[in-house]
């Protein structure tokens, strides 16, 4: 008991630098031990700090799932949308107030499966939002069902004999739809991930950062891969950094080499730029450039 009291006193000594950015009344978070999501939140906070954007001009939107909880934990304007609808909500937010930096933080199941349609169209229109897709290869919150990113032969609760459906290659999907910035990092590559988040925030147009994250309780346990720490060790030994790699070569097979890096950085007119440009051509001087729907 005496030990415990001293421990509590010690904790009061100084606050963690992240405490300012977190809704401390919601802590401790629900993520499992050795889950990589907390690391992603820290990296996002560092990236926001690094890019010098005022936190009043940032909105975080997320969908459903383990990653969906990010919007609830991070202390900026945030919204936890329905399943798969993080991108449409973010699109609306961006169009209503184009000055806002809208960040979508959501999982692979939310963005690529249920929200897959929204994902491809936001990338096609080059909507100026930043999407952080946390890929843990499985629907983790609902019990480890197979996701469209589950690698071939990996076990999931709805694929007890191993997965036979070919998974999505997320960077290739985003690239082929016309995203402006595409990168992939693992939750072990913290500093590179932070830089990628900062670059994605600065890049105009649709930016995607895929973060490969360990899921200890469902993916690792079902596939007998140990804990999240073992998965981090696996990423340490089996990740290859290849900037500018052909996105077609970025498939992730079960326990195979994972290619990481910054793959795409291109400048295409964003949705609002195209809108202003086209209506400027059609209506000439009568057209006033779009400045958002909110009154200042």
């Amino acid at each position: 008991m005496t030990k415990e009291t001293t421990v509590t006193e010690e904790t009061q000594e100084q606050a963690h630098p992240m405490d300012e950015l977190l809704r401390m009344d919601r802590m401790p978070h629900i993520w499992c031990p050795t889950c990589g999501l907390g690391t992603v939140v820290t990296a996002l906070a560092m990236a926001l700090d690094k890019s010098g954007i005022s936190l009043d001009d940032v909105a975080v939107v997320s969908g459903i799932g383990c990653t969906g909880r990010v919007a609830g934990y991070i202390k900026v304007d945030s919204f936890h949308t329905t399943h798969g609808r993080a991108i449409p909500f973010a699109t609306g937010l961006h169009l209503a107030n184009p000055k806002l930096k809208v960040i979508v933080v959501s999982g692979d199941g939310d963005l690529i499966a249920i929200g897959g349609n929204h994902f491809i169209h936001a990338a096609r229109r080059n909507m100026d939002i930043t999407v952080i897709c946390v890929n843990n290869f499985i629907y983790a919150m609902t019990g480890g069902q197979v996701a469209p990113t589950t690698p071939l032969t990996a076990n999931a609760s709805t694929m007890p004999y191993g997965n036979f459906e070919p998974p999505f290659n997320i960077p290739y999907l985003a690239d082929s739809c016309g995203a402006s910035y595409v990168a992939r990092w693992s939750s072990l590559h913290v500093r590179r991930m932070t830089t990628a988040f900062a670059e994605a925030l600065a890049a105009p147009g649709f930016s995607l950062v895929e973060v490969v994250t360990p899921c200890s309780t469902l993916y690792a346990r079902r596939n007998r891969l140990g804990t999240g720490l073992d998965l981090l060790k696996f990423y340490h030994d089996n990740c290859e950094i290849e900037h500018g790699a052909d996105t077609r070569s970025l498939d992730i097979d079960f326990q195979s080499t994972i290619k990481l890096g910054k793959f795409i950085e291109r400048r295409r007119p964003t949705f609002l730029e195209s809108l202003d440009d086209w209506y400027g051509q059609v209506f000439g001087d009568k057209y006033e450039p779009y400045a958002g729907a909110t009154s200042e």
Binding site: H16, P17, P33, T42
Partner: protein, 107 residues
Amino acid sequence: MPQDLPSTPKSTKMKYWRKPLDADKVKVPHGELHIIVNRCKGCLFCVEYCPRDVLQMSEDFNVKGYHYPEVKEDDACVNCQLCELLCPEFAIFCVEKEEEGGGENES
């Protein structure tokens, strides 16, 4: 007793294959680690990935029933803040320790 601790022996002192030319001018920063014990869920990320092998797992439990990291070698921390970035529980952080008396060198 924590059984699954990383057993790979790591050198605690940084070894140079050659002494850097500016070794007498470079000041190695020192960090002071703060561990919020009761937030820890014992994931071992900080212990495993500390480049100077500063941390070890405690034999005691925190209020959640997990072993937590504790500082093994107080002077070895160079304030790289990797543990702070990696910790998924926001339970560990590092502040630079101001030291009087000029550069301190190891090698």
